[in-house]
């Protein structure tokens, strides 16, 4: 089915699309439409009607989030873009910023207009230097062209955007921890409520959106809410998704597709299927914090509700494929090592619970565990899951719990054999 690219239309250029190249592809038409023909509220309603949901992992309806901003409240408000992409297996936001920085910028300006916010920050992970440089250059271009700064297109609306480079830590991607990082504090999470739209950056009303979420805003305005929404493949889905596939597939990469594209199609058609000599064993459908899916789930439509029904989460929509040479216990050791190391240390179940989970996993892998240890592993994960200060540790134990329910035999094999069954 032929499909016109919406958010990846300039990726083929292979370099950050310049302002000219961006405008030639229809760029800044959405902003023009908003500023010249719509009020801020009407602009916000377009996004609400589109059904756009957050693309950072949580899937919260974007229009709804924006509606929480009290436009009449005096004092500064902030529009923050979460560009701290660090979820293992995820590489979509990097490409949006490196290949089409103006797409993100236009979305921020429209978002600022819609919510009455005049100051934007892009919080970007330090390792994405090329993306940060591309964004900084594009912001300067946009400012010269009058798309940023004072009285944009004579609308009376003014906005500035700054890029803030972080210094490396996964928890900075948690929205309230991100705010603390911007405020010069350790990136530990905050108690919610209050939520950022009520009290966010410097305790001011703040919108925080993921890069891919904002990247859809300008196309939604220029195409219209219904046209964008109807690109979806799933029945109640909305719009397009930038999916990723990695692992031992023939064609790993990013694929912009209608949201609701089946997992099987994503892996077998777009990613070219498994490399010769390898077979699909399982996958993480949306990053390290999601539950495993197995061959029986391959027909799931990759949209929010559908993946939840299958026992996992859409998350970032970037799939890591585990092949038949991958031991699931060893995969969990790798994942849990990441989470244990990146724990911000704020709350006890995460800080002290994850190292314990990791220890049991390692002993299982080394053949030094008992069947009772497997029960203790499950118990610990079950206790951690509902008792933490933020979504980090529930994410950490999600894949482990899914291993226990989907690959219990393989885990018990380790105990019975006294070694990993995949090691000869």
């Amino acid at each position: 089915m032929p499909f016109t690219k919406v958010i990846t239309r300039n990726f083929h250029l292979g370099h950050p699309a310049s302002l000219k190249e961006y405008e030639a592809s229809g760029g800044y038409e959405g902003l023009r439409k908003a500023l010249k023909t719509l009020t801020p509220d009407e602009t916000a309603n377009v996004v609400m009607d589109s059904g756009l949901r957050g693309r950072g992992g949580a899937g919260f309806p974007t229009g709804k989030k924006w509606s929480f901003i009290e436009k009449q409240s005096p004092g500064p408000r902030y529009f923050v873009v979460n560009a701290d992409e660090m979820e293992p297996g995820t590489f979509k936001d990097r490409f949006i910023m490196e290949r089409d920085p103006h797409l993100l910028i236009e979305g921020i300006i429209i978002g600022g207009y819609a919510t009455g916010i005049g100051q934007g920050y892009i919080f970007i992970r330090y390792e994405y230097k090329d993306a940060a440089d591309a964004l900084t250059a594009a912001i300067a271009e946009a400012k010269s062209a009058g798309y940023l700064g004072r009285d944009i297109m004579g609308s009376g609306f003014s906005m500035d955007i700054e890029v803030h480079r972080s210094a490396g830590r996964y928890e900075c991607g948690e929205e309230t921890a991100l705010l603390n990082a911007l405020e010069g504090k350790r990136a530990t999470p905050r108690s919610k409520p209050p939520f950022p739209p009520v009290a966010g950056l410097w305790q001011r009303p703040t919108v925080i959106n993921n890069v891919e979420t904002v990247a859809n805003v300008a196309p939604i305005l220029s195409m219209g809410a219904d046209a964008w929404k109807s690109l979806a493949r799933s029945k109640d889905g909305a719009g397009v998704k930038l999916y990723g596939v990695s692992g031992r597939v023939k064609n790993p990469g990013l694929f912009e597709l209608p949201i609701g594209t089946p997992l099987r199609e994503l892996i077998e058609v777009h990613a070219g299927g498994m490399q010769d000599g390898y077979r699909f064993k399982a996958c993480l459908p949306g990053g390290a914090s999601t539950q495993l899916l197995t061959p029986e789930h391959l027909d799931v439509e990759m949209d929010f509700e559908q993946v939840v029904k299958a026992g996992s989460r859409l998350g970032t929509g970037c799939v890591t494929v585990l092949d038949d040479t991958c031991c699931t216990v060893r995969a969990m050791v790798n994942l849990t090592t990441f989470f244990t190391r990146e724990s911000c240390g704020w709350c006890t179940p995460c800080r002290d619970g994850l190292p314990f989970v990791l220890d049991i996993l390692k002993r299982i892998e080394d053949g030094d565990a008992t069947l009772e240890d497997i029960e203790i592993l499950k118990e610990n994960c079950d206790v951690i899951y509902p008792n933490t200060f933020c979504a980090f540790a529930p994410g950490a134990v999600s894949p482990v719990l899914s291993m226990l329910s989907l690959f219990r035999d393989e885990v018990e094999e380790h105990v019975k054999l006294g070694r990993c069954p995949l090691k000869s």
Partner: protein, 155 residues
């Protein structure tokens, strides 16, 4: 080395902000870039520039993966050890680098050129396994490619 002029410039710029403490990460980067790593003196310098207690800056410096509180080589090699790189042979990359550089994890080569450290996902999953040398990300690593990169990146 940060010159007196630059220090004065930084202090003035920070003081002019509505929220000076918001600049602390930028200042940490600049001081670290100037001195190679963030020493105890560096922490105090950052604290002085931004107007925060040194203990607060220490809390930040030890929180961030890319702020180094110990001396590091002229370039740091951060090898991704997350799941997508693991699937396609990340462990071999580590082994090759350890052997080639003659260091363990966290070690610095005797000529001071490189320090070897892990890092979480670099967003290069489509060209795994990957590593970052200095501030450049490299993917599709093979032993030959790694050797070539080290040659090119050595200072």
């Amino acid at each position: 080395m940060l010159s007196e002029d630059r220090l004065r410039e930084l202090k003035a710029r920070v003081a002019s902000l509505d929220h000076p403490e918001g600049a602390v990460v930028d200042v940490m980067h600049e001081v670290q870039d100037a001195y190679g790593y963030l020493s105890d003196d560096g922490v105090e310098l950052v604290a002085d520039i931004v107007g925060l207690p040194a203990s607060h800056v220490e809390g930040l410096a030890t929180f961030y993966n890319l702020i180094y509180r110990r001396p590091v080589g002229r370039k740091v090699i951060h090898v991704c050890d997350s799941i997508s790189c693991w699937v396609v042979g990340m462990e071999d990359v580590f082994e090759h680098l350890k052997k080639k550089l003659g260091v363990g994890l966290g070690g610095t080569t005797t000529d001071g050129a490189f320090t070897l450290l892990p890092i979480c996902c670099l967003g290069s999953c489509h060209e795994a396994p990957a590593m970052m040398v200095g501030d450049r990300i490299y993917g599709n690593l093979t032993p030959a490619k790694i050797d070539e990169i080290l040659e090119r990146e050595k200072t």
